[in-house]
């Protein structure tokens, strides 16, 4: 088990480093950050000043290793660039310094620190809705197999999977916020309860596809489980049908759904990018779009790094969790 975890962690590290390296150099291929940040009105002199301040006038390889924290700091605006004793310090990822955002004039950690909790709130509410709606619908469909309610639910899941958020989002906003006024019209609100209220509609929209998938998986799994011997035995010994379903069938049918939830998290954050844009939800998704548009390299790099680490850690944890839940799986095999 430990060997497996170490192997996976090493692979994860290699993948993250490769992705970070690739993205770092891709940003430079995409264009000149100074020109993009300062905009089309920038004077050559402003661009030169910016490049000097951010260390962008140094060789790219030096910038990269300085970013990682292996070579000394190249950013003149960092306090580490010139320490009190006159020497140059390190200001890279290894030192926990993600740099300063080009356009926000603020440390990247602070910029992300504001945005991340908002995306997590949206994503967690979306997962909650996915599970509540998806599992309920799946169970109903399985128990009422081939009846009209099953057909209706399956049709609904088909529609739910087919409709992208950029279609459902604006329609939901138009109908439920603009015309009916049931939900706030986009935005984030200003206090915690308000945040949750503002998150309801975008989370529901974000949850549609996931809920539809879970409903289909749950239906299939439950139908399969209901045929198992242990369920038949439970029925035979006179257990009430609701208890049979709850205790013996649903519990077993849930395992693949748990795996699916784990695997869907990165997609959920990806989907949140579009949803955040539509619902003016000022989270990490919107920040990512802005940063890519303005070529705000330190923020792009930090987001990539964060997602990279999160996906790798998530996958590793999912493997470990499955092994822990199901003793038949041996990770060393």
């Amino acid at each position: 088990m430990i060997r497996f975890i170490a192997q996976r962690a090493l692979w994860g590290f290699v993948v993250v480093v490769s992705v970070v390296t690739l993205v770092f150099f891709l940003i430079f291929v995409a264009g000149d950050p100074a020109v993009t940040v300062l905009g089309p009105q920038a004077r050559a002199e402003q661009i030169a000043d910016f490049n000097a301040k951010k260390g962008l006038d140094r060789p790219m390889v030096e910038q990269f290793f300085s970013y990682l924290g292996i070579l000394p700091c190249v950013r003149k605006d960092s306090p580490k660039y010139e320490r009190e004793d006159g020497s140059r310090g390190f200001c890279g990822v290894l030192q926990g310094d993600l740099g300063e955002s080009y356009s926000h004039h603020e440390s990247v950690a602070a910029v992300i620190g504001f945005r991340l909790p908002r995306t997590l709130l949206l994503a967690s509410m979306a997962v909650l809705f996915e599970l509540i709606i998806g599992l309920t619908a799946g169970v109903i469909a399985a128990l009422r197999r081939n009846r009209w309610s099953d057909t209706l639910i399956m049709f609904g899941t088909f529609v739910g999977i087919s409709l992208p958020t950029y279609v459902t989002g604006p329609i939901a906003l138009l109908v439920f916020s603009f015309l009916l006024g049931w939900f706030p019209f986009g935005g984030y609100g200003i206090d915690p309860l308000d945040h949750v209220y503002h998150a309801l509609l975008p989370a529901l929209i974000l949850a549609i596809a996931g809920a539809a998938t879970y409903a289909r998986v749950m239906r299939g799994e439950l139908i399969e489980t209901l045929r198992h011997d242990h369920v038949r035995t439970a029925k035979a010994k006179g257990m009430p049908p609701s208890q049979v379903v709850l205790r013996h069938a649903i519990r077993n049918a849930l395992l693949p759904v748990v795996t699916l939830v784990g695997l869907s998290l990165p997609f959920l954050v990806g989907g949140a990018i579009i949803t955040e844009k539509i619902f003016a939800w000022p989270g990490l998704g919107l920040l990512t779009i802005e940063s890519i548009e303005s070529l705000d390299a330190p923020v792009i790099m930090a987001v990539v790094l964060m997602f990279g680490v999160a996906v790798q850690a998530g996958n590793l944890l999912a493997d470990i969790a499955v092994a822990a839940l199901d003793p038949r799986i041996r990770l060393n095999d």
């Binding site: 020109v35 009105q41 002199e45 603009f178 986009g186």
Partner: protein, 576 residues
């Protein structure tokens, strides 16, 4: 025995199906007939008060977020708009675009040679921390702005101050050309006469900021902390800032100009134009600009909204930049042919109320713009063909021309002109690139044959368009501001003469000559001036578009309490 219940079940299913469909139809019909309609006019009106009074909260929004509230870094539209509430400069612009004193008691005394500007501050101006503003504060703020340590993008606008370049690179500790003559008097001495210096002084970069506050913050939390904890002299002080969500500004009681203002301003960030427009029509936002296209067309046509709507050209120009170093645009006649071949009225038809056809580099509100400029670029197919003949291409160009475009919007625009240029035998091939690539590559000589381009003024002076975009000094191996690589010694001489000229009439006459040259020589084929649309709620008073500042809301007052009105008052039946 089996068949009977089966038949009954099938029959009952049919009945159930029909009942369900009927119920759904009834329900659907009810929903359709009773479903709320979109509001056709304002949902709220004011209290009909004549006298301006302070109070209430003004809510407005933008589709992006404010990057900083530190004026020394405010170089984007939204940060500038926010800083306009928090700070004041020595000078400002009135609604006619004329320069007026703000923190300064009057316009500066200018020496005969146009190199020395002496300002005296008003009495009783206070920072938001209650301390009175002194000339020393102006000097300290300018030193902060121009220091290399801070690295403000505002430096190039002030480098004509004596000693500023040496100070900027750390060779000296003080800027020689900034001299405090008394508690309220400060003098700026320039290396050479430059009339645009006053425009620079009116930019947010030069807004003073409280020294003791900045020093304490920088020491405790680092340089960037100033951008989120500002202390200025403006009509509003910062209340709360939920980053990326909204900024709340509170009215500053000790502000020197006592006119009525809202108690609070709420600036919503990251609200897309669709969301903002819909929220506005529901009464959730008090003033909007640049509504989404559908809403713009609606608001433009709506009689109910007509009294609360304004359209004003933006101080910008958009054009096709033609690279004068590369064939075929090294030939003036080909450039002129392009300028005459483009039917700009198509643009006005494509997006009504969004643009007006451009004939010259200067936008309509900026003197010496001339609506009847004889050299003005207008659609004239016969002249375009004649220019192609003069260029030696009576049957059109042998090779297609590559036009660099930066996105789907420009592709659509370019497709319009493709047809126009085809008519004079110029084939256009589009090259779609990212914004970053566009900026990098079009700033290099001999790379892009033609590209969509444009300019938004930094300050209202013709030099800000002409010097920066067309002077040969603006051509560099990388990052040229003169992206058409146009060189004309005659134009350079006129611009060099105009910039320091103290006599305004003479100065404008020189720029009028330059304007005519640029229209005639066509380094840019001018396309359009964008129009900004503003719409406000009936209870929002004293707003009108400002010729310099895009979101100028500091002089608004609110006619409260607002009253909700039935939408039927706007219906055609009633109005008839």
């Amino acid at each position: 025995m089996r068949s009977t219940p089966k038949t009954r079940t099938r029959g009952s299913r049919w009945v159930a199906g029909i009942v369900t469909i009927a119920a759904a139809a009834v329900l659907g019909g009810w929903v359709i007939t009773h479903f709320p309609r979109a509001p056709i006019g304002p949902r709220f009106v004011g209290a009909d008060q004549e006298t301006p009074r302070s109070g209430g909260t003004l809510v407005f929004s933008a589709s992006s977020n404010i990057h900083t509230l530190d004026p020394h870094f405010a170089y984007d539209t939204l940060s500038t708009a926010a800083c306009r509430l928090l700070y004041d400069g020595l000078l400002d612009y009135d609604y006619e675009g004329k320069m007026v004193p703000s923190l300064a008691a009057s316009l500066p005394e200018v020496s005969d040679d146009g190199r020395v500007f002496r300002f005296t501050l008003r009495d009783g101006i206070k920072f938001h921390n209650g301390r009175e503003v002194m000339a020393e504060d102006i000097s300290w703020s300018m030193h902060r702005l121009l220091s290399e340590r801070i690295g403000s993008p505002g430096y190039p606008f002030f480098k004509s101050i004596e000693g500023a370049p040496d100070y900027h690179v750390g060779k000296t500790d003080v800027i020689e050309g900034i001299v405090v003559l008394g508690p309220k008097t400060i003098e700026f001495r320039l290396d050479e006469a430059d009339q645009t210096f006053l425009n620079a002084i009116a930019m947010p970069f030069a807004y003073p900021i409280a020294r003791e506050h900045v020093e304490a913050l920088e020491k405790a939390e680092g340089r960037t902390a100033v951008g989120r904890n500002p202390i200025g002299t403006g009509p509003f002080a910062l209340g709360r800032w939920e980053r990326g969500v909204q900024v709340e500004f509170e009215r500053f009681e000790d502000y020197w100009d006592p006119r009525a203002r809202p108690d609070q301003m709420v600036f919503l960030e990251n609200i897309s134009s669709d969301v903002a427009s819909a929220r506005f029509r529901n009464g959730g936002i008090d003033i909007i600009y640049r509504p989404s296209k559908v809403n713009r067309l609606f608001l433009r046509e709506s009689k109910a909204w007509a009294p609360y709507r304004a359209e004003a050209p933006s101080p910008s120009v958009f054009a096709l930049g033609l690279n004068c170093e590369l064939p075929p645009f090294d030939n003036i006649h080909v450039r002129r042919a392009v300028a005459f071949a483009i039917d700009r009225s198509k643009l006005e038809r494509l997006d009504p109320g969004k643009v007006i056809a451009a004939t010259q580099v200067l936008p309509p509100m900026l003197p010496p713009y001339d609506p009847d400029l004889p050299q003005g670029q207008v659609f004239d197919l016969a002249r375009a063909k004649e220019e192609m003949r003069l260029a030696g291409y009576p049957n059109g160009l042998p090779e297609p021309v590559t036009l660099w475009v930066r996105g789907e919007g420009e592709v659509q625009l370019a497709q319009f002109f493709q047809q126009d240029l085809k008519a004079i035998g110029i084939d256009i091939e589009l090259k779609l690139v990212t914004f970053a690539t566009y900026l990098k590559e079009t700033g290099r000589p001999r790379v892009a044959q033609a590209a969509f381009t444009g300019w938004h003024q930094d300050f209202p002076d013709p030099s800000n368009f002409m010097d920066i975009l067309f002077h040969s000094r603006s051509i560099h191996p990388e990052n040229s501001e003169n992206r058409s690589f146009y060189r004309n010694p005659e134009l350079d001489a006129i611009l060099d003469k105009a910039r320091p000229e103290v006599d305004r009439t003479v100065r404008l006459e020189l720029y009028a000559q330059a304007n005519a040259i640029l229209a005639a020589e066509a380094p840019w084929a001018f396309l359009y001036y964008p129009i900004e649309m503003f719409v406000w709620q009936p209870y929002v008073k004293n707003f009108r578009p400002h010729p310099v500042w895009l979101n100028e809301y500091r002089n608004i007052w609110l006619d409260l309490p607002r009253r909700r009105v039935s939408q039927s008052v706007y219906s055609p039946k009633v109005s008839r």
